[in-house]
Symmetry: D2
Subunit: 347 residues, 4 copies
């Protein structure tokens, strides 16, 4: 039984972490902090936790030491407070963007501000278990991936690693829900404005490109990846349609083989490519609340075009679920503990 | 050709009024005011009007005289400014709640503030053409009904007038969309919170009860009407399910006859009661953008229970469409001018 | 460890039963039958179960004996086959309507066909644990309630039992999602037709009235309950707005007390009545996948009108979740086993 | 005043044509045929036309001669009947795929069946007014474009024509609503299955590639275009995100200039690229019911990536609206007649 505290627990990602920790057999949830909800019941902000917890939000200044600190703060806030957090817990998982990139210069290029803790960057492990499981096992500091980055890296990794696709002009067309923007409301998120949209959100220069390029580099060579994001009328869930070209005269079985070889024993990756049924390809709607990353593909052999499709719950494998998976690995728990929910159908 | 100006044109109701006026053959849209968007293009706030108008918002202090002033301000603001407005235009249609109720005491009971222009209340005509067409013809001052009130009054009027239903325990269960709340955003209207809801909004004491009781009084006797509102995941549209008991041993043909007699020649009321098809009863989704009020019903003869169903577009017959219909009547234009849009299917 | 088989497992209710049983610590899922999917993988029909089960559908004729048979067939089919089912399992939970009503005459009145097994009706226990827990403990045959009936009975039971509301003119206005209609597709369920609807589905004479009247009878006296159903654009979830009148000069604390007294120790009932926040009243969207029944209310003391609001997942407490709760009671398992999922927010 | 008849008027495209023709000042709608609804009221199938028309569906065998025949039949049916249609009307607009492609071999490659009227192919004009206005003026036979093709061609045409983008690896990622599939229902279109989806529909080899390549050829050279379609939870509307690379060191003003030059006087094309507001890029939701094609773009100068965004109503500029625009051109009417609807906001 370990003690875990969550910093910034009133947001959507924090709330999902709480839900998962509350049903984890070997975790005692110790404290949850919030800046604006101190002393309020956690179950007011997260109404799904009614009857599940009597916890109230703590002030950050009252944070006590614990075995693991999970930090879920807006980008830029975490780096300033990290030295303080390290005094409270040996192990930390940070869910924001602050510690995902290895190079301070890359941070500055994409986030347009200097990094305040550049020396810490190399201490953080990029928390994607399917790629970095062995180092996560021994890590004290883990940075959770961005959600577009997580699903894109997982969808592309076996293809890049095995040089099955051309490394240039990889187009990632992401379809995202509204919860990805967090709980900060604005006129853009006002229901009459946000409902029914197909809104070009970041047509070019999506920040997650930096993470993807970093993680998919082989021998120092990055593939050329472009991410374009469109917001649709969905709360939860993320689908990436990845447009690539195969390198050489491949068949679909070659693609199958690469995915199977890489992910054959992964508990949370499913290759989805059915000949019939309504769910022939990955579909985020049946992943809500789960830690799955479903991956599918279709190859047009006549042109060599390969479309890879990846789906996750942005708050599941995209953030909170993946965080708990990392925690399980760091503490030697079975990797699926607390992540057993299968998802709903229909929904 | 008359000149019309709109005060408070940046909101949703104001925007819909603009759309209708811009396609009206006998109206010149003169000015549109807004408090927070002065000098901005109207088409930024109302993106459906791109390419339709080059108007920019005026400051209220720059309002010039015109033939008709349409006022679309938040409740309580209009009454203070009304004396000033009257100097700018002989004819005024006010779309807010301020001038709908005849008695100052009733206003105070339901809106919990004193009325600042109690003497003006009796000068305003309740702008529901199907009930008050003849007085609207000669009116200078018209108060547009609330949207729940409009559809409820129209659905009940022939039944109350002909004493076909018992006047007590009339339950109006309203299902409403998010545009009814206007363009003021909040955490409650934040898409991840507001999407997919079936949210009990005002289970009891809905303010529109006051209007309904006022308009359905016969010889000073009000029926006992209770309104309960539930917000659902819909932007536009309003459906009321009205639960009543017939007075005596009536058949469905008796109900038909009352509706036909009252509304047989009304251009915007349709009695919808089909034996088959997907649209057997009124359905707000096919009314978006129209000025229709569709009314249907089902009588369970074994118990005498009569359920009446009314549907409108809350921004159409519920506000802006009805306003243009009143304007047409006030100025002697054909009543359907500017209101020809039939609605879309599918949608 | 008990063996359970599901008859009619390819439907939505059956699929949800499978999901729950697959994560139940003391159940071995033995067989799942389907008429039209024999030998197909269960995970094709229920894509959320990919990677969770390798089961294929069995033919009904190959059904083997087991400890518990869960029957999920269309209304009318179950009664014909029940004698055969009883040879396969001592304990049976039937999820359809066939065995919910005690009196054959009431069945015939509401379902317009003679009952083929009238003698069996009195052997079935109405499977609502909060009302009938003690008899369910010893029961071999249990009939799962209809979903509107379940939430309505639970919302009204403490009020009727304690004579807090008048027993006449109780109006139940139900808002339902599309999964309630099962997986049988039609033009009415075609997405362009069914999306965005507020469709009056059964304005009067909803069949669940019969169950509600039966279960809420006290000393042979039934309250007068009227159910009216409206379909909205939601897949999963059910909200009932119940319009009643209190009997006498009650205050909200009296209502609170009745609910607390009756349900204070119930694991799946939550009284939801907050002064603030977006979820002040019960909201089905945060109940998807759970077995909760959330109940709230608002009393207008000036008129004596009491609006009670009940929310469930129609496939959770409305069908499959409640079924597993009954199973737990019948076999002496802890009542919450397999039903631990807290629900998601946001969603 | 011309007489127009619609063959296959019970579908969604046909219904939208009817709505537009009924409000056209110079059209008399003569007959509407349907295979399965003969003698039924048109307003049953198209409930938005209640009170707008008393027409009943005719049998195809009773078709009489008229000035213009609009044919809206499933792919493959139209070509067989075309010789018969030509006896009924000199002018024909066909909305299906049968006559869009110039070369029989290309038809066979993409539709996998021989073309039954190969000689007629060259007689049909591809009905996109912005590209072919002058030949449409004199045309008797017009083939309406596919909806993905229409918006893609319009979005790319100024760029290809002016050689501003590289002609290879043009990726068209289309987001489509459910009405695009027509009114034929199936388990895939069943609301619980189809709602909330982000469904990879045709990841590769979308048939509209053939049209796009044909229309964007310059001097016999086709650009290399790949279309990938994803179905989302939307009834009406289509957005294409087009991923391209500029040829040379261009700036955004160069792109602006090309669009302005080509489309500056087009009544139905709007270039949408705002610095602020919720609708900075094209958004299909505000186009429902209109004939607009909104086009926007974003150039990442550091990489030369140009993302072009096009939005239409698939039943408007994608089918029925464009058809009426062609009709107006063919008969010398003002091009915007019958197409004045501005679209709704919010919606």
């Amino acid at each position: 039984m370990i003690t875990v505290s969550v910093v910034g627990g009133s947001g959507y990602a924090g709330g999902e972490v709480l839900r998962l920790l509350l049903s984890h057999p070997d975790v005692r949830l110790q404290q949850v902090t919030s800046q604006s909800h101190v002393n309020e019941l956690v179950a007011i902000t997260h109404p799904n936790l009614r009857g599940r917890t009597d916890l109230v939000y703590s002030d950050l200044v009252d944070l006590e030491s614990c075995d693991l600190l999970i930090v879920s703060l807006p980008n830029g806030l975490s780096m300033a407070k990290m030295p303080g957090f390290r005094k409270m817990a040996r192990r930390i998982i940070d869910l924001g963007a602050d510690f995902r990139l290895k190079k301070p210069a890359v941070w500055e290029e994409w986030y347009q501000t200097p990094h305040r803790q550049p020396d810490l960057l190399s201490d953080f492990i990029y928390g994607l278990p399917e790629i970095h499981r062995n180092v996560i096992k021994k890590a004290d500091l883990v940075a959770g991936p961005g959600c577009e980055a997580a699903v894109s890296i997982l969808s592309l990794y076996p293809l890049i690693k095995n040089r099955l696709i051309k490394p240039e002009n990889i187009i990632i067309d992401a379809k995202m829900g509204s919860s990805q923007g967090g709980n900060h409301f604005s006129f853009a998120s006002h229901h009459p404005e946000r409902a029914n949209v197909v809104r070009s959100y970041e047509p070019t220069r999506h920040r997650h490109e930096a993470e993807i390029n970093q993680e998919l580099s082989i021998n120092g060579e990055s593939p050329r990846v472009f991410v374009s994001a469109t917001a649709i009328d969905m709360v939860r869930g993320l689908l990436v349609t990845i447009h690539t070209t195969v390198s050489g005269n491949l068949r679909e079985t070659d693609i199958w083989q690469a995915f199977r070889q890489e992910y054959g024993s992964e508990p949370f990756i499913r290759i989805v490519k059915q000949k019939q049924g309504n769910y022939r390809f990955p579909e985020p709607k049946i992943l809500s609340g789960t830690n799955y990353c479903d991956i599918g593909f279709e190859l047009d052999q006549s042109t060599g075009r390969l479309v890879v499709i990846g789906a996750i719950d942005n708050l599941g494998k995209g953030t909170a679920g993946n965080c708990v998976q990392c925690m399980n690995i760091m503490f030697g728990f079975p990797e699926t503990w607390g992540l057993e929910f299968a998802g709903l159908h229909p929904i």
